[in-house]
């Protein structure tokens, strides 16, 4: 598929928009449909799209495997850390009201960081599974 000019051009045009759309779904999740999970899947899908068109090695160069594995753990860690931040500031575990002097603002902050954690873990896991599956046939 590396020689297909139409696919390469369309892919190059579309992938930035897919990533921006994922960010829109992520940060607009407060107001419209969406959130960390959907945004993570869309991010992973855009990189998988890149891998399908430009080949797996190119995708591995753009998004190295070590980074993906770190993302898997980092997202879950971030979520747990938000919980402990609430604990450290004198609230209950995963209590967002204490994260900011204004409780509503604190809720906003808590939800934001929790959703970032979900995004990072979900996109990391999806990408890792794809890398592992796609890489298997080639190595053996």
């Amino acid at each position: 598929m590396r020689r297909e000019p139409v696919l390469r051009v369309v892919g190059k045009l579309l992938i930035p928009y897919m990533l921006v759309f994922a960010l829109y779904v992520q940060f607009h999740g407060d107001f419209g449909p969406g959130g960390g999970f959907q945004a993570g899947v869309i991010t992973a899908a855009s990189i998988i799209f890149y891998a399908l068109i430009f080949g797996l090695p190119a995708a591995r160069r753009a998004v190295p495997e070590a980074l993906v594995e770190a993302m898997v753990a980092l997202g879950a860690f971030l979520y747990v850390a938000v919980g402990f931040a609430g604990l450290a500031l004198g609230g209950n575990y995963l209590d967002y009201f204490v994260l900011h002097p204004n409780p509503v603002e604190g809720q906003h902050r808590g939800i934001f960081w929790v959703e970032v954690g979900v995004l990072v873990t979900v996109s990391g896991v999806m990408l890792k599974i794809f890398y592992v599956f796609a890489g298997r046939g080639r190595e053996s």
């Binding site: 969406g34 959130g35 899947v41 879950a76 979520y79 919980g83 906003h108 939800i111 873990t121 046939g137």
Partner: protein, 169 residues
């Protein structure tokens, strides 16, 4: 249309068309969810069901070939088990409140508070996000950990296979 897709999936012997039809099924399911006003769930269904899992299944097909194997035995026992379970589930739905019944327990327990107070308490206009990340934060933490565990499991299983192969050489 969904029923037709399912019958086509069962009748197909070529696994490639089965994967594509499963993607079609997911998109139809997503439209049903949009019709039920569950836009968040519809989005997840479309992106996970029709997008990622189709790609992963195609990757698996690339590894294991495209034709379904002939079944080894006649499937009468599994068929009987399935029918019993279907009967039990249908019997169970008889006990549920009628569809869109305003006095159903789900509408009288915590939902009015979520719908009424979510905007004032969290400042988030999308109630789904407010419930998911704030009121039910523990559940979402659990889900994230489940996804994390799945990723770790895949890494552990497939990495070890690779290392074993290298030793075999």
């Amino acid at each position: 249309m969904m029923a037709a897709t399912v019958i086509a999936i069962i009748a197909q012997r070529n696994l490639f068309s089965v994967v594509v039809l499963a993607g079609v099924y997911s998109f139809l399911m997503a439209t049903v969810l949009v019709a039920l006003d569950a836009v968040d769930v519809a989005m997840t269904e479309a992106s996970v069901g029709a997008g990622i899992s189709t790609v992963l299944l195609l990757g698996a097909l690339y590894l294991c070939g495209g034709e379904e194997a002939k079944p080894m035995a006649r499937p009468w026992l599994p068929l009987a088990v399935t029918l019993v379970i279907v009967g039990a589930l249908v019997y169970g739905t008889l006990g549920l409140p009628a569809f869109s019944d305003p006095m159903a327990p789900i509408h009288t327990h915590v939902v009015p508070r979520y719908l009424g107070q979510a905007l004032a308490e969290t400042g988030v206009p999308n109630v789904v996000t407010a419930v998911l990340a704030s009121y039910r934060g523990y559940d979402t933490l659990g889900e994230t950990v489940v996804v994390f565990t799945a990723g770790i499991g895949v890494i552990a299983l497939l990495r070890r296979a690779r290392r074993g192969k290298e030793k075999g050489k």
